[in-house]
């Protein structure tokens, strides 16, 4: 049933799509893409706003007047109703030029002088098409009607004015302004502004799976100041007015404000809006007011039709159809002239019926008659057939087991239905890196804090072990200890640099090993891995210094961290834990609320004391007002916040529980969240009070450093015992970081809209007041949280972001020299670590913080609130506001996160490259990371020559491109010399040593400019692969556009994230990977797969098949039509070009419509010119379809010529056999038709590469139906078909041996050339299969041999230690090409 629905859905899409699709489509056939793009432009909505009042509030009258124009919540997705169905459907259908053409022919037949057949007969094709489509439409519409009905009748509790209570109503009765009461797990009936949530912090969680497929919970918030109004929200007392924008389809934007009766305005934004068709989760009850209903909801407005892209083949086809039109015109003209001349030479013949007509006029009429007679020549039905065939192909793609992902239980999703054959012609593949080539399942790997690197060797080891024991996978980014570094690492300062480095020195595993091992690899790696991080002992030791607050006064002992370093470490982990948008839930605690902060492990007093002890640490180092203390030395004990200089220490009384306990931060009001919430206004004051209070004395103790080891164990033990917290993050990096922080016992326990509950080592739960979250955006490349520190009351900004940005913003405090020194040291070290992380292929992030002065914060807050409540330009203002905040950051540390390659990526890439597809990697990552990943997934081979283009200005860029081009030229020349000498016809080996261009975002900007474009293209065209790093989404799409347009090639873009959307939409074929980063990429793609490896089967097998099937089918269709129509044309020479036909008109019309229409469809869906295994095993075969070998212009003409020949044979053999005899018209037509049928069907057999029982069945049925039909006609049709009477013709014919002799001779003679051609072609010029099969063996053997030798010689390098910050491993540029 599901499948049936799917097919129906596809059909509907197909049909809907068709109404605006083809060259013969309506004038409004604007590509769908434009309309999609239009979504993105923010100003689609008119400036008008909508005002909403509560329906049962005091504003009854205003409500009536205003809401009249608002749509109700009834949805009607049906296109027709009973009355309008026929006219509307006809109207829709006549938008298609194909139908108009049929209609034109039918009408033409009504002109008496032109009339070729009876009027009814020419109506048949039109009627058949219209009826079939109308029936499909009706069924589909009915299904939608039922679905609508079901939806509309869902029940929901709505506030009823009369009963003053929430009553059950149907969805369709919900109006704008209604108050809706929803419980957990209910589906939201309309777009609702959240007014009340049972959650004490006014938060509500929704799942948007119905909308975009994302299953993680999203947090929504009650309109900000309603919380204060009271405990229970009552609709009657709702007097506010809501002003918001008019309905639009931007899911991520909602702007407006709520004006209370007092005149106070509160900004509304996306966070307050619950969207229709989402589900309430983790929140008991929710009340909201409907602002958009029915078709005006964002969900409904986002319901767009299927994407339409016109394929290359179709464009090509249109050209050929034009040739058919020309052919038709010539034929008709020939007939017209012939008829004129024929008439001129006749004098008053007895068979001339209309004597009064002049020859010229008669010729003119014949022209039109002939257009009707020869109408079949224009294969309009081909378009319908192509669509059907593509549906069939998609059905098989959809059902392919190889494209099914067991883990996710997801199949390939085909969203575009009409570009299947483009999959077979891809020449350029643009791939995102993260989530596409890699798993996008992040595992925290290493970090560096305070300029000190913590390699987490055990963790790394464990990661490795995990792999080894589980899969023994030989290659992953971890083992790629990339001993090389490209010279241009620090080129930024030089302005420009380039280098070409041979990658020979790269460590790699042997090919064979990999090949063996990858087969076994499973992807079950992740979830556990991501959660479990083995802490670095060094770091744990340092943390313990802190937790057992023996203040490291005795700095003399090595390994003792300075207190400044400790503060860094604590801030670092705190930032990891809270600077994110992770939603926490635990199985034991389904309600996603911040748990009441449990009783702290010790009394409040103790905490206070402890805090006092540490009060200096998190802040002092960063506060600009306390520089003098840092002056002394990193080891100095003298911190101040105010006047405190001494430390107090309190020995933990219950230190046995979890090692030693201590806290670096504390809150005075952890015990009661409610208090905290209600008191939030006064928080600032309290905070200040706190800080003043806590400026007490601090004492110190010593701690046994030996405890560190035990602590690690203790930590892990604790982790095991820890109740299961489930983190749901929008981006996997965040999850990895939170888990990492948790490994160091800095656990994020809960989150509410304005507070965070964090477990800190030794203290237990701690509430941190969350002031703002400045979410991640791709312009800033960072995210921040603004929190008020519970103790000091200071406003602290924790920022996490891309190193390039954060390093730029992290400024040295303009204060004391010493501090500056420290900071510069930290930055230098961190940069070094970042570089080494990047070289290892780790994703790097920088963590920074900033302490805000109270006044500073006030100023910022004011402007930020203003920005938030503005309706116009809200996004821009908020961005600006965020940028204002994120300056002068203090760098805390950096993290390196491993992102493993997806399984079988290298194999896939290698296969695609062998298939002649050029692969570009477009990533936002660092150059080193990108190169490393590129290497590990075999985009780079050891022999490849790396061309790097980094530069700072346009002129330099031009020079570089020029130089690189020359170099490539030189190498190519030498290569060709070598190959010509060796005379190696072995193309595969020769391409092994090729060029890889690495270009960074800035340089790419220059290169994409108008004047350098051609150079860039020229250069990139000669490279096997191009890696663009640090590229923005815009650049990605620009690159795709440039290559696709300028080189005229077919491009494929694959990506998984929102940043790939533009690229995916730009490419000819966009593929989305449904992965960790939501569904945007999938929603904008043509095909959505779940794994990168699926690409190889999709392209190499399905693409190849689809293309060759379609190309062959099109050729066959054209052949069939030309062949059949020519039979009629030849007859014109014997009937005075009068437009008469030798067949029964019924047979003539139905011949194409029924008897010969199904076999090509089957052929188009099922034919396999090569087996799937062969195609997968020999990716080189892909090049045949890639370069359109099947469907080249000469093939079209050969086909047409063959058709001409066959029609000549098919007409003239019966002609000569019957010439001069007493044969009637139909008697001549009978053998001609029969043999035409045989020829056409057998031609199909010759052309198809596989014949299954389905083929045979269809062929037999087709042939049988023809004979059945004509026999029935000749028996029963006495007066049914007036002008040409078929009675007795076929029965008589088929009882005569002559008929069979003629048919046999005709069929054989017509097919001989085709058979001969095929046989000779296959023998003299064996196809790629036959050619490549033996060669491949030699190739792979040689290759493996070479690789083995190479591996032996380089095995030394492999054993070198991880060269993280060892620049000595730089390969020499001298060894360019081996």
């Amino acid at each position: 049933m599901e499948r049936f629905h799917w097919v129906q859905h596809r059909c509907r899409q197909l049909l809907e799509g068709q109404s605006v699709q083809h060259w013969y489509s309506a004038p409004n056939g604007v590509p769908d893409k434009n309309s999609q793009d239009a979504h993105c432009s923010p100003h689609r909505v008119s400036g008008k706003q909508r005002t909403v009042f509560g329906r049962h509030g005091p504003h009854q009258q205003e409500y009536e007047t205003i809401s009249r124009n608002y749509k109700s919540n009834v949805i009607r997705t049906t296109k027709y109703n009973l009355l309008t169905f026929i006219p509307m459907n006809l109207f829709q259908q006549f938008h298609r030029v194909a139908n108009l053409y049929f209609l034109f022919l039918a009408l033409l037949n009504w002109v008496p002088v032109v009339e070729a057949f009876q009027k009814e007969i020419t109506m048949i094709p039109l009627l058949v098409v219209l009826t079939v489509i109308a029936i499909k439409d009706a069924l589909e519409d009915y299904r939608r009607y039922l679905f609508d009905k079901k939806i509309n009748n869902n029940a929901v509790r709505v506030f009823c004015g009369k009963q003053k209570a929430y009553t059950d109503q149907r969805w369709k009765d919900v109006q704008v302004g209604d108050f809706v009461f929803l419980s957990c797990n209910e589906i939201i009936p309309a777009d609702i502004v959240l007014l009340y949530s049972s959650d004490p912090s006014g938060v509500c969680y929704i799942e948007t799976a119905n909308l975009d497929g994302e299953t993680n919970l999203k947090q929504r918030q009650v309109v900000s100041d309603l919380l204060l109004q009271g405990v229970e929200f009552s609709p009657e007392s709702f007097h506010s007015r809501i002003v918001c924008e008019n309905p639009n389809n931007d899911l991520s934007r909602f702007r407006g404000y709520m004006e209370h009766s007092s005149g106070v305005r509160v900004g509304l934004h996306n966070n307050n809006l619950l969207l229709r068709s989402c589900t309430i989760r983790n929140t008991q009850t929710v009340v909201g007011i409907v602002v958009y209903a029915g078709h005006e909801t964002k969900a409904m407005m986002n319901n767009t039709g299927p994407r339409y892209k016109r394929s290359q083949l179709e464009k090509h086809l249109n050209k050929d159809i034009l040739w058919c039109v020309v052919l038709l015109f010539i034929m008709c003209l020939t007939a017209a002239i012939g008829h004129g001349l024929w008439l001129k030479n006749l004098k008053d013949p007895v068979f001339q019926v209309d004597e009064e007509m002049s020859p010229a006029l008669a010729g003119f009429c014949v022209f039109w008659t002939m257009i009707i007679v020869l109408q079949v020549l224009i294969p309009i039905s081909l378009y319908v057939s192509i669509e059907i065939v593509k549906l069939g192909q998609i059905y098989f793609i959809h059902n392919d087991l190889a494209l099914y992902n067991e883990q996710l239980d997801s199949r390939i999703l085909c969203r575009a239905l009409n570009i299947t054959e483009e999959l077979g012609q891809i020449q350029y593949l643009f791939s995102d890196k993260t989530g596409t080539l890699t798993e996008n399942k992040m595992v925290f790997c290493r970090c560096s804090i305070y300029g000190v690197e913590y390699p987490h060797e055990e963790n790394a080891h464990r990661l490795k072990m995990y792999e080894e024991e589980k899969t023994e996978a030989a290659v992953c980014s971890m083992t790629l200890k990339s001993g090389y570094s490209v010279k241009s690492l620090s080129c930024r300062s030089l302005g420009c640099n380039r280098s070409s480095v041979s990658l020979n020195t790269l460590n790699t595993e042997s090919e064979e090993e990999e090949d063996q091992l990858f087969g076994k690899r499973t992807s079950a790696f992740c979830s556990r891995m991501a959660k479990e991080v083995v802490p670095d002992p060094e770091l744990v030791k340092k943390l313990n210094w802190l937790s057992c607050p023996v203040l490291p006064l005795s700095e003399g002992s090595p390994g003792t961290p300075s207190s400044l370093e400790l503060t860094y470490i604590i801030d670092f982990f705190l930032a990891l834990a809270i600077c994110n948008s992770v939603v926490v839930s635990s199985p034991s605690q389904p309600q996603n609320v911040v748990p009441e902060a449990g009783t702290p492990l010790r009394s409040l007093e103790e905490i206070k004391l402890m805090f006092q002890h540490f009060s200096f640490s998190p802040f002092s180092a960063l506060t600009t007002i306390s520089p003098p203390q840092i002056k002394s030395s990193p080891g100095s004990r003298q911190f101040t916040h105010g006047k405190t200089n001494s430390f107090t220490f309190s020995t933990p009384p219950s230190s046995t529980t979890v090692g030693s306990e201590s806290g670096q931060e504390s809150s005075l009001e952890t015990s009661n969240l409610k208090l905290h919430l209600s008191a939030r206004r006064e928080r600032g004051d309290i905070g200040q009070l706190d800080s003043r209070e806590t400026e007490g004395d601090i004492s110190k103790t010593k701690i046994n450093p030996d405890m560190a080891k035990q602590d690690v164990e203790g930590l892990t033990r604790e982790m095991d015992n820890d109740d299961e917290l489930v983190y749901e993050a929008e981006c996997p990096d965040e999850e990895a970081l939170v888990h990492a922080a948790r490994a160091y016992r800095c656990t994020l326990r809960g989150r509410s809209a304005d507070s965070l509950l964090v477990d800190l080592p030794g203290i237990g739960p701690l509430v941190i007041q969350l002031l703002h979250i400045l979410p991640f955006d791709s312009n800033r490349k960072m995210m921040s949280v603004v929190v008020r520190h519970p103790v000091t009351g200071q406003v602290v900004v924790y920022t996490k972001g891309a190193d390039s940005v954060v390093m730029g913003l992290a400024e040295t405090p303009t204060c004391a020299e010493q501090a500056q020194e420290i900071h510069t040291h930290i930055r230098k070290q961190s940069q070094k670590h970042l570089d080494s992380y990047a070289r290892e292929g780790l994703r790097t992030l920088c963590i920074a913080k900033k302490v805000l002065e109270e006044e500073e914060y006030e100023v910022w807050l004011k402007r930020h609130l203003l920005a938030e409540s503005s309706i116009e330009n809200r996004e821009e203002l908020i961005l600006e506001s965020a940028q204002r905040l994120e300056t002068n950051l203090t760098l805390l540390g950096t993290t390196g996160i491993v992102d493993r390659l997806q399984e079988e990526v290298p194999e896939t890439i290698e296969a695609l490259q062998r298939a002649g597809i050029k692969i570009w990697v477009l990533t936002g990552d660092k150059q080193e990371t990108a190169i490393n990943i590129a290497y590990s997934c075999k985009i780079l081979c050891p022999n490849d020559q790396l061309l790097t283009a980094n530069c700072g200005s346009k002129d330099v860029c031009a020079a570089i491109l020029e130089e690189l081009k020359l170099e490539v030229q030189r190498c190519e020349d030498s290569l060709t010399r070598i190959t010509s000498k060796k005379n190696c016809g072995n193309s595969f080996l020769c391409t092994v040593a090729s060029f890889i261009l690495v270009i960074d975002g800035q340089t790419l900007d220059w290169a994409l400019q108008e004047d350098l474009k051609s150079d860039f293209l020229e250069l990139s065209r000669r490279c096997k692969a191009v890696i663009c790093c640090r590229s923005t989404p815009l650049q990605k799409s620009q690159v795709v556009h440039l290559i696709g347009k300028e080189l005229g090639v077919i491009t494929l873009a694959v990506g998984d994230g929102a940043n790939d959307v533009s690229m995916i939409q730009m490419a000819d074929v966009g593929i989305g990977i449904s992965g960790q980063e939501g569904m945007q990429a999938v929603m904008s793609s043509d095909f959505a797969i779940s794994r990168f490896k699926h690409l190889s089967k999709l392209l190499l097998v399905h693409g190849h098949w689809c293309y060759s099937r379609l190309a062959n089918m099109i050729l066959y269709f054209i052949y069939k039509n030309v062949m059949f129509v020519n039979l009629l044309f030849w007859y014109q020479f014997f009937c005075g070009f009068s437009g008469s036909v030798m067949t029964n008109a019924w047979v003539l019309i139905i011949f194409n419509l029924l008897f010969t229409s199904i076999p090509p469809l089957i052929y188009g869906v099922l034919d396999q010119n090569m087996s799937a295994d062969l195609l997968m095993g020999l990716p080189e075969l892909y090049q045949a379809t890639q370069t359109s070998q099947v469907y080249v212009p000469c093939m079209f003409w050969i086909t047409v010529l063959d058709a001409f020949y066959q029609s000549l044979v098919c007409f003239f053999v019966p002609y000569f056999a019957l010439a001069g005899s007493d044969a009637g018209e139909l008697t001549l037509g009978s053998p001609i038709n029969a043999s035409a049928l045989f020829i056409i069907l057998l031609h199909q057999v010759l052309e198809s590469h596989t014949l299954t029982w389905i083929h045979v069945l269809v062929l037999v049925l087709s042939g049988g139906s023809y004979f059945g039909f004509v026999l029935l006609l000749s028996v029963f049709c006495v007066t049914c078909n007036p002008p040409t009477n078929p009675v007795g013709v076929e029965t008589l014919q088929m009882s005569q041996p002559l008929f069979y002799f003629v048919c046999a001779l005709t069929t054989v003679t017509a097919l001989i050339p085709r058979v001969l051609f095929r046989a000779l072609h296959n023998t003299l010029n064996p196809s790629a299969v036959l050619k490549l099969a033996p060669m491949d063996k030699v190739n792979s053997e040689k290759y493996h041999e070479r690789m083995q030798r190479w591996n032996l010689s380089h095995s030394k390098v492999k054993r070198l230690p991880l060269g993280a910050d060892n620049p000595g491993l730089e390969p020499s540029t001298a060894s360019e090409v081996s």
């Binding site: 007895v350 396999q1168 090569m1170 007036p1282 008589l1292 002799f1301 064996p1326």
Partner: protein, 368 residues
């Protein structure tokens, strides 16, 4: 394979996830069937010289004998054609052809002597042949009313529009209407055997059995059912303009009169090509011992009515015996022999090619 598909089904049953709508979702795993995975057992015809060879030889060996057989058969058919158009000054019918009009009441007769070199043994079919007569002209073909010819009395009085301009004559419906009927061949041909003793013996010609059985019994019917009184039946209709007699006076035999007159039926089955023949009479073989038409000289007497000069047509009388494959036509035999020989020849060439190049492709057999 069976096992794996079984497993898949098991899984389908087990994994049931409750969706938000309450319905159970099945695992999306595609079924592992040969059809869905496109692994149906298939025959992959790859045409190479080697595989095609036998077919070519086979066709050659098969076609050549057939061709010879057909050719011999065709050659055994005896056929005689006499052109009596009279366009030549020397032709006996020249005068008749000159003084022609459809409406002339005075019949013009001409006599053409001819000689049979061989005796015709079996039944002899007598045809009239017309050349350059486009009976297949589109407008001409349509100009008839099949309902009327099928005996429909409504159509009789109200002929179809297709018959225009031969539907009505002086407000009376024409029966049979249309251009085809109107232009019906109306020469009368008679054969005389010139006995060596000087007497002319009229050869009996059978005028029935010349039309198709289906036409005579199914398609053409007289109006009024079996009413033998044709005059009454056709009351109120007009004869076709060019006809000399109304349709119910075509023959005296009621089984061969009116619309079911066989000459008329034969004429109404329009010829496919501008040069055609139509069966006129049959000379039945009477005696097993005597030839139907013995050797000797004959006379063809033509009542010359049908005008063909206006469109440069020709009229012929054809005498022909018939075989199982129809009339005399050597084309088919020759064509079979030619195609057979060509195939054989190509087979030889392919054999050579196969020996020279075939090894290459043999080594790379593709397993399906």
């Amino acid at each position: 394979m069976m096992a794996s598909s079984y497993n898949a089904k098991d899984e389908d049953g087990n994994i049931t996830v409750s969706g938000p709508g309450g319905g159970a979702l099945r695992s999306k795993k595609p079924e592992n069937t040969a059809f869905k995975q496109q692994r149906l057992p298939a025959w992959q015809p790859i045409l190479t010289a080697g595989t095609v060879l036998p077919a070519f030889f086979g066709i050659g060996l098969f076609f050549i004998p057939i061709g010879i057989g057909l050719y011999v058969t065709s050659n055994n058919i005896k056929e005689l054609e006499i052109d009596y158009t009279g366009s030549d000054m020397s032709s006996p019918c020249f005068n008749c052809s000159q003084s022609f009009s459809w409406n002339s009441t005075k019949p013009c007769t001409c006599t053409i002597p001819f000689h049979l070199d061989q005796p015709y043994d079996s039944n002899v079919f007598m045809y009239y042949g017309l050349s350059n007569f486009y009976q297949n002209h589109r407008r001409y073909v349509k100009s008839r009313d099949d309902s009327q010819l099928n005996g429909d009395s409504g159509s009789l009085m109200k002929p179809s529009k297709e018959c225009e301009p031969y539907a009505y004559f002086e407000k009376k419906p024409i029966a049979p209407c249309g251009a085809i009927a109107n232009s019906m061949f109306n020469d009368t041909l008679e054969l005389f055997y010139n006995n060596p003793n000087g007497t002319k013996v009229k050869i009996p010609l059978t005028s029935t059995g010349i039309a198709w059985w289906t036409d005579k019994h199914v398609k053409f019917r007289n109006p009024g059912g079996s009413n033998p009184n044709f005059t009454a039946v056709f009351q109120g209709t007009a004869k076709p303009v060019n006809w000399r007699r109304p349709v119910y006076e075509l023959d005296s035999d009621p089984e061969n009169n009116g619309f079911i007159n066989e000459d008329f039926i034969v004429w109404m089955r329009t010829a496919a090509l501008p040069t055609f023949r139509k069966l006129y009479r049959i000379i039945q073989k009477k005696d097993d011992l005597l030839p139907t038409l013995p050797r000797g000289s004959y006379t063809l007497e033509v009542v010359y009515n049908y005008p063909v000069r206006s469109f440069e047509g020709r009229k012929r009388m054809i005498l022909s015996t018939i075989s199982w494959m129809g009339g005399k036509n050597p084309f088919l035999g020759i064509a079979y022999i030619t195609v057979g020989s060509v195939c054989f020849f190509l087979g030889v060439i392919l054999l050579i090619i196969h020996h020279k190049y075939g090894n290459r492709s043999n080594s790379a057999d593709i397993s399906s």
